[in-house]
């Protein structure tokens, strides 16, 4: 069944803040095998002009995708998550995420489309720090395959 177009433009309440820790950044950088010292060494990060270690560019997805769960699991929207794959991902950065940040995400449904039996859902996650400053925006496109007949 096609998703309800009236959900386009719906914005969900901001998430409780996620506190970014140095050791979580280190764990993520090690998991992707990235030894850039800006992720683990505060002095190296400061030499680049950052107040503390920064996170790799895709780190914030773990936070925005969890926030998008509000949309994905919204019973009124009725998305069948077992049929969903990640289609596209985009980030626009005002500044890098860094240790000590307390980040809240506001998710908005930007578009709902039906193409060739697939449901395509575009979710925008606006990430702000504790001071209310915009840090990064993440756009996630989810594609749900059509349910099989029978």
């Amino acid at each position: 069944m096609a998703l309800d177009q009236s959900f386009v433009g719906r914005t969900y309440p901001p998430t409780a803040p996620y506190e970014v820790g140095r050791e979580k950044i280190r764990e993520f950088a090690e998991a992707v095998g990235d030894d850039n010292p800006a992720y683990t060494d505060p002095e190296a990060a400061k030499a680049l002009g950052h107040p503390d270690v920064i996170a790799p560019p895709t780190f914030v997805f773990a936070i925005t995708f969890k926030a998008a769960g509000q949309v994905v699991e919204d019973p009124q929207l009725g998305l069948d998550y077992s049929r969903v794959v990640h289609g596209d991902q985009r980030f626009a950065y005002v500044r890098p995420v860094r240790a000590g940040d307390r980040l809240a995400v506001t998710s908005t449904i930007e578009a709902i489309k039906s193409v060739a039996g697939k449901e395509i859902l575009d979710i925008r996650g606006e990430v702000h720090d504790e001071a209310g400053e915009h840090v990064v925006t993440a756009w996630t496109k989810l594609v749900a395959r059509a349910a099989e007949e029978g």
Binding site: L48, T58, A62, D88, Y93
Partner: protein, 146 residues
Amino acid sequence: MTQPLKAKIAYDDVEVGTELPPRTFPVDRAALVRYAGASGDFNPIHWNERFAKEVGLPDVIAHGMFTMAEAIRAVTDWTGDPGALVEYRVRFTRPVVVPDDDRGAVIEVGGTVAAKLDDNTVRVDLLVTSAGQKVLGMARAVVRLA
């Protein structure tokens, strides 16, 4: 952005067509387990071969976000400062299949400066392949140079 940028690459030193150093990133099953833990994405298609095959995949596949994380290293290692990244987008077009052997898979990344933009930024187009096939489409980054 008021922070000082100490990018290794100067805007004036690149032109459209400038190629970034090509990179290769290995990925094996252990890397996927580690990434699952670090990212919180425990979807079994990334570690459970039986489950992956049940849902029609050829084998365990890498997290798309893992591939996205590897691909941008071609850019962040080129500029030196990962904080100089302004925008980054990809389309997940084909999975990176990771067999349970001693070698796993390899993600190959090439990058080319496709446009010189305002404020010392350039657009880099990335070509990301595994086993000879393109795994990311429309993979583009905008990065601020010195």
